[in-house]
């Protein structure tokens, strides 16, 4: 299927690239070195309308098609993968879930502030005993005189240290497996919510990843997102679209590394000629470019299916399963093109190499994507 972006999608690409080159890329190395999230970029991302790309105009957003958002995410991640995942979780997982499953009141309460960057979202599914097997989560939400009381522990929560709104999955009944799980909207600062120290990570060090302890956290009944017992479905629906988002993040990281390597190969002289004249380097560049184009086709296809209202979960899993390892391969090769200097922090390929690896793990590992794909084929 040949893919043609519309004029608007092309303009989203050029415009977000211009923005990211000017505002996002210059920060990336500092965020990585200092292990701190890109808080100063939030108002700029909001002004550009990027934080509101999944939010309709009536809620203050700048809603576009999902493919435009994916292109924007790719371009942000090309400049800084940490900023990319902050936007992805906020706009793709959290805003979209509130839009699809929230009451009018919940939408009014959160979406305008989320589009304006006043509230960043976080998505709390993973627990110490429930990673790939998210349905095994053990946090509970018990009903007490018109309130829910949440108890439990979440780990690896992206945006945890500064998010204002948390979607939290917890058990509301003793029904085993996924049926007893519900989703809740919890505001930062609700008493009993303890946000732990951020993890020290190999890559995406500018993204904050924290544990969160819920100790007798009392929230009103109106904080239930969707119906009671539908929490797992809400989480999975969010993750379906989210997978296309992470695939786009991987694609952006890989494209960033490729662009650097291509230029370096033409400039670096060894044996009296640019290394780009060496077949060994040419083959790497050619392979990287094929990888990128194949990945881009899968990512855009998944987003396009979602835009056209067709089933896309399978396509999103395929895009993520291809693009995660692809980003690892491409950043690996990019470092090889750079040689020794690529292993230092003089060039961003070293950071990109570290950043790429997580895309094979979060929002469903490679193995879980294979499971999703195989299940849809072998029904």
């Amino acid at each position: 299927m040949p893919f043609h972006l519309t004029d608007e999608q092309e303009l989203v690409r050029t415009s977000v690239r211009e923005f990211a080159d000017a505002e996002i890329a210059p920060l990336a190395a500092t965020l990585d070195r200092e292990h701190r999230p890109p808080l100063e970029s939030i108002p700029k991302l909001a002004d550009m309308g990027i934080l509101g790309m999944t939010i309709p105009e009536q809620y203050g957003g700048s809603v576009s098609d999902y493919l435009s958002f994916i292109v924007a995410l790719e371009e942000i991640s090309r400049a800084c993968a940490s900023t990319g995942v902050m936007v992805e979780v906020h706009a793709s997982l959290v805003s979209t879930s509130i839009l699809h499953f929230g009451t009018e009141e919940q939408r009014q309460k959160y979406l305008p502030d989320m589009a304006a960057g006043k509230k960043i979202g976080a998505f709390c599914l993973t627990e110490p005993g429930a990673g790939s097997d998210a349905g095994a989560l053990a946090s509970t939400a018990t009903k007490e005189d018109g309130h829910y009381v949440i108890n439990g522990q979440k780990i690896f929560i992206t945006n945890g240290s500064f998010a204002e709104v948390f979607i939290v999955m917890a058990r509301t009944s003793d029904q085993p497996g996924t049926r007893g799980i519900s989703a809740f909207l919890v505001d930062r600062g609700t008493p009993g919510m303890q946000i732990g120290e951020p993890e020290v990570k190999m890559g995406i060090r500018g993204s904050s990843t924290t544990p969160i302890l819920f100790d007798q956290v009392r929230i009103p009944e109106s904080a239930l997102l969707g119906e009671e017992g539908h929490g797992f479905k809400i989480a999975m629906k969010g993750l379906d679209g989210g997978r296309t988002g992470i695939a786009a993040q991987a694609l952006g990281i890989a494209q960033g590394a490729f662009d650097q390597a291509r230029v370096y190969a033409m400039e670096r002289v060894q044996f009296g000629q640019p290394i780009a004249k060496l077949q060994a380097i040419q083959w790497m560049i050619a392979d990287m470019s094929v990888d990128l184009e194949a990945g881009r086709a899968l990512v855009y296809q998944a987003a396009d299916l979602e835009d056209r209202g067709q089933p896309f979960a399978d396509a999103a899993a395929k895009a993520k399963l291809f693009c995660g390892p692809m980003a690892t391969r491409v950043t690996h090769a990019a470092m090889q093109v750079f040689g020794g200097i690529g292993y230092t922090d003089a060039y961003p390929v070293e950071r990109m190499y570290r950043d790429a690896r997580i895309t094979e793990i979060y929002e469903g590992t490679n193995e879980i994507q294979r499971l999703v794909i195989a299940r849809s084929l072998l029904r």
Binding site: L11, D47, M48, G49, G52
Partner: protein
């Protein structure tokens, strides 16, 4: 009252490649609104907002300049509307034909008191269009404007230019053609809402015939004979004292004949 901004849908030289014999290959360079024209549009937008004027983009070019993509790219930068003069003869037009087409667009619009141009086109880079356009319209032209204020009621424009001696402030009577100095002000990338809004803004594509315009015959007055890179020399300054390093650098530049102390 209208303010016009002249822009060019031009190939980005940063995506062009240069062959060893000096030929520039633009075939893989995508066209765009250059950073110079983006500054002109931003300057025009600020002046139009202050004066309550309409901001109209004007452009001249071949078929690519009149595509919906080109129009939306320009409109998303803050123009209210756009007029493109399109003709195969303008595909690779020189300064004079371009200025002719732009002058015709200005006359067609009527009620234009100010034309803002970019510092230069990004591909040809001759920096001649503002002056020739002014000449064709019979208006004064002021290039390299770093800041401008419009007093429409007094029929005046105050412009600042940065020159070697400092900042020069000039007052001119309207109508006038100005060009915005490169980097005169920040021209942020269009936001998502600007991109969506661009599709709804009015635009007009006109042929020279629509404007009763007879384009002058292309008359190449220059021919590229040879391109040679500047000879590179390396001077090593070996000191840890910043003041000494600065002094040695200045001396080395002066010895090499590099003009120092503002623009020359």
């Amino acid at each position: 009252m209208k303010i016009a901004v002249a822009y060019k849908w031009a190939a980005d030289p940063s995506e062009a490649s240069v062959s060893p014999d000096g030929q520039v290959d633009f075939s893989r360079a995508k066209p765009k609104i250059s950073e110079y024209d983006a500054v002109a549009i931003a300057m025009g937008r600020a002046l139009a907002d202050a004066a309550g004027a309409e901001l109209v983009g004007i452009s001249a070019g071949g078929s690519a300049a009149a595509t919906p993509l080109a129009l939306k790219a320009a409109l998303s930068r803050g123009l209210d509307s756009a007029v493109v003069v399109q003709s195969p003869d303008l595909e690779s037009a020189g300064t004079f034909q371009t200025a002719q087409a732009l002058a015709a667009a200005v006359r067609h619009l009527g009620d234009v008191t100010l034309v803002v141009c970019g510092d230069s086109s990004i591909d040809a880079g001759a920096q001649m269009v503002p002056a020739v356009l002014g000449g064709l319209l019979g208006w004064p032209a002021l290039t390299d404007v770093g800041a401008a204020q419009l007093a429409a009621a007094d029929n005046r424009l105050t412009a600042e230019r940065s020159i070697a001696e400092g900042i020069q402030t000039l007052v001119a009577t309207l109508p006038i053609v100005i060009s915005a100095a490169a980097g005169a002000l920040a021209a942020p990338a269009p936001g998502m809402k600007d991109i969506l809004a661009a599709a709804k803004k009015p635009s007009q594509v006109l042929s020279p015939a629509d404007l009763s315009l007879e384009l002058a015959a292309a008359a190449p007055v220059t021919a590229q004979v040879k391109v040679s890179g500047p000879a590179r020399r390396c001077v090593q300054i070996d000191t840890t004292d910043p003041a000494t390093a600065a002094a040695e650098l200045l001396a080395a530049l002066a010895a090499a004949g590099t003009p120092i102390g503002g623009r020359s």
